[in-house]
């Protein structure tokens, strides 16, 4: 940017700080009524202005400059906090973009703030706004990922039904990610409990697509590699039709109508194994 001198910008902001802050604060309070208190907004704005002026004094002109490391950190923290508190994207962005209201007071004054300086500052505020928005989106994504993971953990309990028999009752829609988590958890439980029988009950599953069916089959094959047998129980009529229609080969994988049938079969197999040993 030709002509825009960082030190000069810092000087302008510093000398007109009171006016800028007042206009900025008013704009934010109008927009965020009830969301934040005046004193809190004032404190946040004070911190942002300090960091902005500090960065300019160190020669920064674009937000990506190293001089603005502190400011970027501050904005990132602020956006993350707002995302957690449930602020809307607009409410978050407005807190920064409203700084322009403060800058417009400069245009109306007679102390000769040049157009070039004003444009540089406005452009910098645009950068701040975009950065805030990006940080907000990233924070929201992180929250969603976290919740999805927690949900995944909660929704896949592996229970011990009997000595040597564990079961996982699946409820709700199965997607690839969830099926994979179930698979890993079930196999680990086999090792941890020394169980040679696993039952995957899909009574509560409304639909099965090719991918999910493949994951279930892979689980059964993996369990076999480890030395355990897997039974799939609770296949609803519609799902049975889908499986056949999709041409999914269940091969020699044992299926049972209900969880109870599967348990009886597992116990019987256990019994045979025991009597064979004598």
């Amino acid at each position: 940017m030709p002509g825009a001198d960082a030190a000069r910008l810092a000087e302008i902001l510093e000398s007109r700080r009171a006016d800028i802050s007042a206009a900025w604060l008013d704009a934010v309070i109008t927009e965020l009524r009830g969301r934040t208190t005046r004193s809190e907004a004032e404190r946040e704005q004070g911190e942002i202005l300090d960091a902005l002026v500090g960065g300019l004094r160190h020669g920064g002109l674009r937000l990506t400059d190293p001089a603005f490391d502190g400011l970027r950190g501050l904005l990132a923290d602020l956006s993350a906090t707002r995302a957690r508190l449930g602020f809307t994207p607009r409410e978050t962005a407005v807190g920064v973009f409203a700084l322009k209201e403060g800058l417009y007071t400069l245009a109306a004054d007679e102390q000769g703030t040049g157009l070039v300086e004003l444009m540089s500052l406005v452009r910098l505020v645009d950068d701040l706004g975009l950065f805030t928005f990006e940080s907000f989106a990233a924070a929201r994504e992180a929250i969603i990922a976290e919740q999805a993971e927690q949900l995944l953990e909660l929704s896949t309990p592996v229970v011990k039904l009997w000595e040597g028999v564990v079961a996982v009752p699946l409820v709700g829609t199965l997607d690839s990610a969830r099926t994979q988590v179930v698979m890993e958890k079930l196999l680990q439980t086999l090792v941890d409990t020394g169980s040679e029988h696993a039952i995957i009950d899909i009574t509560g599953v409304p639909a099965v697509d090719t991918q999910v069916a493949q994951h279930l089959l892979k689980t059964v094959v993996a369990a076999r590699l480890m030395g355990a047998e897997c039974t799939i129980s609770g296949i609803r009529p519609q799902i049975a039709q889908t499986i056949v229609a999709l041409g999914i080969e269940f091969g020699d994988i044992s299926t049972k109508a209900t969880l109870a049938d599967a348990l009886v079969a597992a116990l019987r197999a256990n019994g045979t194994a025991k009597s064979a040993i004598g």
Binding site: M183, E184, L187, Q188, L190, V191, G194, S195, E196, K218, V221, A222, A223, R224, L225, M226, G227, A228, A273, A276, I277, G278
Partner: protein, 133 residues
């Protein structure tokens, strides 16, 4: 590279793979086992792979070969202790352990091998000690 030790427990040969195997060491183990089965007349081979962090196609083929060789020499092979992550990976890789029996741990593996001893025709008809070797 050191060879993998083979232990003899009754009529069973016991191998516990504890280190990341070089291909050469794996081939050596295959040869050693064939040798020991004939030498000892073992009826069972138990391979504990709970120490293995991966089973790739080479190790998978070694396990299948060992099972095939022992079958020809009239012994049963059981592979025990495969980790869940290893099993999942093998399935994804498309690797099957043809002709290999599996069990969760050493104890269950030994249990699978034992009936073969006591019900062998020799033992039943002649009352010979199955652990003769």
């Amino acid at each position: 590279m050191d060879a993998v030790p083979i232990l003899k427990l009754g009529s069973t040969l016991l191998v516990s793979i504890q280190v990341d195997l070089q291909d050469q060491t794996a081939l050596q183990l295959q040869e050693d086992l064939a040798e020991r089965i004939t030498q000892t007349g073992a009826r069972g081979v138990l391979i504990d792979i709970s120490g293995l962090e991966i089973v790739d196609s080479f190790i998978g083929r070694m396990l299948s070969s060992i099972a095939g060789i022992s079958r020809v020499l009239d012994a049963t092979t059981v592979v025990v202790g495969m980790r869940p992550a290893v099993a999942i990976t093998m399935v994804e890789l498309g690797l099957q352990l043809d002709g290999v029996k599996t069990a969760l741990d050493v104890e269950k593996g030994l249990r699978m091998l034992r009936p073969a001893d006591t019900t062998s025709p020799e033992a039943l008809l002649l009352g010979l000690d199955a652990d003769r070797a």
